[in-house]
């Protein structure tokens, strides 16, 4: 990613040709960028249209109707569902980190018999499709009266998440073994090594895992649909948005888009605040074995 400029001393071509080069260099990239931006642009514009305009495929709002965002709050209990979403995403992120970090540490740094086999179990749990577990879990949760509440979404995250454990283990293994070994030889307990040596050195990695699990919960549709889909206490936004589309607001595209944008906004803010963490975290899920 270092800037590669032409070596000094080269002849500068005439301005017309330089512009042509620039155009040739950027034209394909700009064309692709337009493809990527079109759906979002249309969504934003639709959120400012009148119902008639939105339903007839208008391309530009006239007049701009700014009240759609306010109308969302009367068309659906947006505030309550937002709170549910924040609770689900926030608490499950805390749970995932608190419960997954020690497991990842045990897999990366402690020496015990069966460690490799246990790691395979983690990998298998990671690959397991949700459909295979959701039927008995639904029965179980409805027995103990949890269906219709946020508990089935939050509580399991406090018992470790296979994907997060896998990622954290990969990160922990990149820390030089001498550091933890030195602390161990000096008689520090494992918990102390984890808290004072490992965690301070892997903060960016833990942040990445936290971001991933927050976004997973924020975007999650399947689990909230199963466990809170018909609840009186409200849904998470992902489910509520689809119900807005179905209930008395069919074809009210401008409301759906306004609500979608409000749902999307925190994600975008997070992304721009932590872009580096994201891109590096994603690269790590793929490239390093």
């Amino acid at each position: 990613m270092t800037g590669r400029r032409s070596a000094p001393g080269h002849h500068r071509p005439p301005i017309g040709r330089r512009l042509l080069y620039q155009l040739a260099e950027h034209a394909p990239a700009v064309a692709v960028a337009l493809c990527f931006l079109l759906p979002l642009t249309i969504s934003v514009l639709t959120a400012f249209m009148t119902q008639h305009q939105a339903g007839t495929g208008s391309l530009w709002p006239s007049p701009w109707d700014f009240a759609n965002f306010r109308r969302v709050f009367t068309a659906m209990p947006f505030g309550r569902d937002l709170l549910n979403t924040v609770l689900y995403a926030g608490l499950s992120t805390i749970g995932t980190i608190v419960s997954s970090v020690p497991v990842a540490y045990a897999l990366a740094r402690l020496r015990w018999r069966g460690r490799e086999a246990f790691f395979l179990v983690v990998l298998a749990a990671m690959m397991l499709p949700a459909q295979v577990t959701s039927l008995p879990l639904y029965v179980f949760y409805s027995h103990i009266g949890w269906v219709g509440t946020l508990k089935p979404l939050i509580v399991p995250s406090f018992f470790g998440d296979a994907f997060s454990i896998f990622l954290l283990r990969q990160f922990f293994r990149t820390i030089p073994g001498e550091l933890t070994e030195a602390a161990r030889v000096d008689g520090a307990g494992e918990l102390r090594i984890l808290l004072r040596v490992m965690i301070p050195m892997t903060k960016p990695a833990i942040a990445a895992v936290g971001l991933f699990s927050f976004l997973y919960a924020w975007n999650d549709f399947y689990n909230p649909l199963l466990y809170t889909g018909n609840s009186q206490g409200g849904q998470t936004l992902a489910v509520a948005l689809t119900q807005l589309a179905k209930s008395g607001h069919q074809n009210a595209y401008q409301l759906q888009m306004a609500a979608s944008l409000m749902f999307l906004l925190p994600v975008l803010v997070l992304f721009f605040l932590a872009q580096k963490v994201f891109v590096e975290g994603i690269a790590l899920t793929g490239v390093k074995g």
């Binding site: 979002l40 402690l110 039927l135 470790g160 008689g187 549709f221 999307l264 793929g286």
Partner: protein, 332 residues
């Protein structure tokens, strides 16, 4: 980095001062109860939320269990499986649609991610801006993305309007059975930015000198791509196809939202798969049977078949691709 090391050093020396009396234990093996303490929450979770449900699904699949019903549960052997294979046309339609997604969507998405990554590597200045723009849509929650595409691809909507301006008569997209799955593929391409990031990182990692040497040897663009770029990015292709395949087998959210919301007539769960069952995928059919009709035993049989199918496909994929993937570090 230096500061973290220093801080770690402080912690180490602090620990030394306090536990100087303690006998030094063998450094190579951790005591079993320490390991257990670190693992215990996850072990409990594994048993409760993974092992028990997997076993219970297998058991349910051999019964006529209906969640919420007071009817006594009866063991029915392989009846559920027999019904699936011989007496359910929904099942086979769902299988066909899902296989279509695996075979069409997954390779196209990988190819698109590769192409857009290549476009980015051709740009010298402003590369990061493009990368951010291409990546952005993959951050959009699937539900919001599906709702956006419903608006965009409305038969009288903006995209058909735009195409009309240049004289193209746009299709019915999500409301036309022939176009509904391709429309979902379009949506998947739009959100391929996360894979694109991995591809562009791998492409930029290729040492410049390799291309320069190939230039001296008079290699053409295609030859350079095949002999230099392709081996370098083959692990990413492998990763993208494998994870994409596992994901496509479970394809649910976008299909559920689109077939439930794109059409006024399809507002009830009865009509999942609208239009004309062209969007009835394996997971949506499983949801319908298990959580709309509460045919728990029957849906459990479907879940186990899905599990086996994913497992088998993964094993086959790993076997077949082994000889095509090149790792820079040599054989693993």
């Amino acid at each position: 980095m230096a500061t973290t090391v220093a801080r770690a050093g402080d912690a180490v020396s602090g620990a030394r001062g306090r536990s100087a009396q303690r006998t030094r234990r063998h450094p190579s093996k951790t005591r079993w109860w320490v390991v257990l303490a670190f693992l215990s929450p996850f072990v409990i979770g594994l048993a409760t939320f993974v092992l028990y449900p997997v076993a219970a699904t297998l058991y349910y699949s051999l019964t006529n269990f209906q969640a919420g019903s007071y009817r006594p549960v009866r063991f029915v052997g392989l009846n559920n499986y027999r019904t699936l294979f011989t007496r359910s046309d929904n099942f086979w339609i769902a299988v066909r649609n899902t296989v279509w997604m695996v075979v069409v969507m997954v390779p196209l998405r990988t190819a698109w991610a590769m192409l857009t990554a290549w476009v980015i590597t051709r740009v010298k200045r402003g590369r990061n801006v493009y990368r951010t723009l291409y990546f952005l849509p993959s951050m959009v929650p699937p539900v919001a993305a599906a709702l956006s595409f419903i608006v965009l691809l409305n038969p009288v909507g903006p995209l058909n309007r735009l195409m009309g301006l240049v004289g193209i008569d746009g299709p019915g997209w999500f409301s036309d059975p022939a176009w509904s799955k391709p429309s979902l593929v379009l949506m998947a391409l739009w959100a391929a930015g996360n894979t694109m990031v991995i591809f562009s990182a791998a492409m930029l990692d290729v040492p410049r000198e390799l291309y320069e040497a190939a230039d001296l040897d008079g290699a053409g663009a295609f030859r350079k791509f095949r002999s230099i770029t392709l081996p370098a990015i083959s692990p990413v292709i492998y990763f993208s196809l494998l994870t994409g395949m596992i994901y496509a087998f479970q394809y649910f959210t976008e299909a559920f939202v689109v077939s439930g919301s794109a059409n006024v007539e399809a507002s009830s769960n009865e009509l999942l798969g609208y239009p004309a069952r062209s969007l009835l995928f394996y997971s949506t059919e499983l949801y319908q049977q298990g959580f709309s009709y509460f045919k728990t035993g029957y849906a459990s049989a479907m879940a186990w078949l899905l599990f086996l199918a994913i497992f088998a496909a993964t094993v086959v994929f790993i076997r077949v691709s082994r000889r095509f993937v090149h790792y820079a570090g040599g054989d693993r």
